[in-house]
């Protein structure tokens, strides 16, 4: 299968500190990749790299076969742990924003029929993430889980080629997190998304992902720790069939997944 996103021998360095070294990665369309690793192992750097927020010091990144410019664009959506939504816009207008930017370069506002169409599309997307009843609330009136639902809806309305999640559920309490897992799995299946998620939660990584990447440093120099960067030390494909896995994830409770995780990580 041809890769949607390819990293070829990518290095990220800040001054003489090497964060990522020799990252080579192929992401296939429709996969759900979880990235785990200790703090400071370059998980977020990798995400920022793919997002275009940072440029690779060496190596290159291809999206659909064309080299990626180091700038964010609508082909890659993102949900951060916090501050992903605009506090001055209502839920509906937060979601419509992405459509307005494309539709009206100068005023960034739509009027008349295009506006009605955009609102209808946004409402539909908000229904899909479970915010159908909160269209006119402001972010300050939403709970943490609802904010992340909004951030997801906002990103998905642009139909990104890749959805990047940076510890999206890290700040949520366990009950809400389970709901969000079900939601993101359903959206991933319904919209045939390609998702790359950075997480601290190992169970979350294995529950949601079709492939788990563990980042860490391969080598340590005790005298100059910053001179060796992290790379993917484990690359674990969990399941072949994306659709099948998604169906499974919604049905099977997270607890009963333990045994499966064990066999996979040993196999």
């Amino acid at each position: 299968m041809s890769a949607l996103l390819s990293l070829r021998d990518v290095w990220v360095e800040y001054g003489d500190k090497i964060v990522l070294e020799r990252m080579t990665l192929d992401v296939e369309a429709g996969s759900f990749i979880s990235i785990i690793g200790p703090s400071g192992a370059g998980k977020s750097s990798l995400l920022r790299l793919i997002l275009g927020q940072e440029a690779a010091t060496r190596g290159y990144i291809l999206l659909d076969g064309t080299p990626l410019t180091p700038e964010c664009g609508p082909d890659r959506g993102v949900v951060f742990q916090r501050y992903s939504v605009f506090p001055h816009l209502s839920v509906l207008r937060n979601t419509v924003f992405g459509l307005e930017c494309a539709g009206a370069p100068l005023s960034a506002r739509l009027f008349g029929a295009p506006r009605r169409a955009a609102i209808a599309e946004a409402s539909e997307m908000l229904d899909a993430v479970g915010l159908g009843d909160s269209l006119h609330l402001y972010p300050s009136q939403l709970s943490g889980g609802m904010l992340q639902r909004l951030a997801i809806a906002q990103a998905l309305i642009k139909r990104p080629r890749i959805l990047l999640l940076d510890e999206p559920f890290g700040a949520l309490d366990p009950g809400i997190r389970a709901d969000m897992h079900a939601l993101i799995t359903r959206l991933w299946r319904d919209y045939s998304l390609t998702i790359i998620m950075v997480t601290h939660d190992i169970r979350e990584a294995f529950t949601l992902g079709t492939r788990v990447l563990a980042l860490d440093k391969r080598r340590h120099d005790p005298h100059a720790r910053h001179r060796f960067g992290a790379t993917a030390i484990y690359d674990l494909p969990l399941r072949k069939e994306a659709g099948e896995a998604a169906a499974e994830a919604t049905v099977v409770a997270p607890e009963s997944r333990h045994d499966q995780k064990e066999t996979i990580s040993h196999g």
């Binding site: 890659r76 993102v78 992903s84 605009f86 001055h88 930017c101 005023s107 402001y138 300050s140 990103a155």
Partner: protein, 271 residues
């Protein structure tokens, strides 16, 4: 109960807030009465009756030279200068602050210049303004503008630059251009801060207004205060100062009200 956890109810707050003001007024009346008991022609601490008498002339009797009601002409002239100065400064602060805050290259180019201008004491520029712009309205308004704009620009620019990086990145992933980010993301979020900056700028704006009027003018609240100073006319100066204070308080309250009314999202509102 600790003082930090004592909360005052709304009614009590009004009462408590009025208390020191009332005490000061009483103290003044006491001192004035004492001085008048010693010398019934005392001009330094006039009694309320004296102030009413002096102000009535300015409020209701047309001036013999100009035919205007002096107090209202002064108020109108001063408010016009203040309003124009504040308006121009606000517009400049919004546009310049927004551009500086959103666009890093512009910030790098013009940030030091704005900082440099901000540290010049505006009153030191007053002679230059009078020489360049004459003694008319322009110089006075220019002094207010020059006095308050740099601080407002820096405030807005800093606020916009401090917007979470995530928001700007998110907007870009939603396809927004620099211009769209400026008008749809940064501008609306700068507006509550702009009203706040206006409130803070009101104090300095009054200072520059009164300074300019004191030096070269023929009408205005500051002009009148400095004019009647020659006659030791405290019965006019004190009501004028109180009137300036009242105007400033009303403006401050109006801006606060506007802020809460127009930007409820910025105040963690309930529903």
């Amino acid at each position: 109960m600790r003082w930090v956890s004592r909360h005052v109810r709304r009614g009590d707050r009004l009462l408590l807030g009025a208390l020191p003001i009332l005490l000061l007024v009483l103290l003044y009346l006491f001192l004035a009465a004492q001085r008048h008991a010693a010398n019934s022609l005392d001009k330094i601490l006039p009694l309320p009756g004296g102030m009413v008498g002096a102000m009535a002339a300015l409020l209701f009797q047309p001036d013999q030279l100009t035919g205007q009601l002096v107090f209202w002409a002064d108020t109108l002239a001063s408010l016009q200068r203040l309003g124009l100065g504040l308006g121009i400064a606000t517009l400049a602060a919004l546009t310049v602050g927004l551009v500086l805050g959103v666009l890093p290259p512009v910030r790098a180019t013009f940030g030091p210049l704005v900082t440099g201008i901000a540290v010049i004491p505006p009153i030191a520029l007053l002679p230059i303004l009078f020489i360049a712009l004459g003694l008319g309205e322009t110089a006075k308004i220019a002094l207010i503008v020059i006095g308050i704009t740099p601080v407002m620009v820096r405030d807005i620019a800093a606020h916009v630059a401090a917007l979470p990086r995530e928001q700007i990145i998110k907007a870009q992933t939603l396809g927004a251009s620099s211009w769209q980010i400026m008008i749809r993301v940064a501008l609306p979020q700068a507006m509550p801060r702009l009203l706040h900056a206006m409130r803070l700028a009101l104090g300095p704006a009054w200072v520059f207004l009164v300074s300019a009027e004191a030096i070269a003018s023929d009408v205005g609240l500051g002009y009148r205060i400095f004019l009647v100073r020659r006659y030791l006319a405290m019965d006019v100066i004190i009501p004028y100062v109180a009137w300036i204070a009242a105007l400033a308080v009303v403006m401050d309250l109006a801006l606060t009200f506007l802020d809460r009314r127009l930007f409820p999202w910025a105040h963690g509102m309930g529903h």
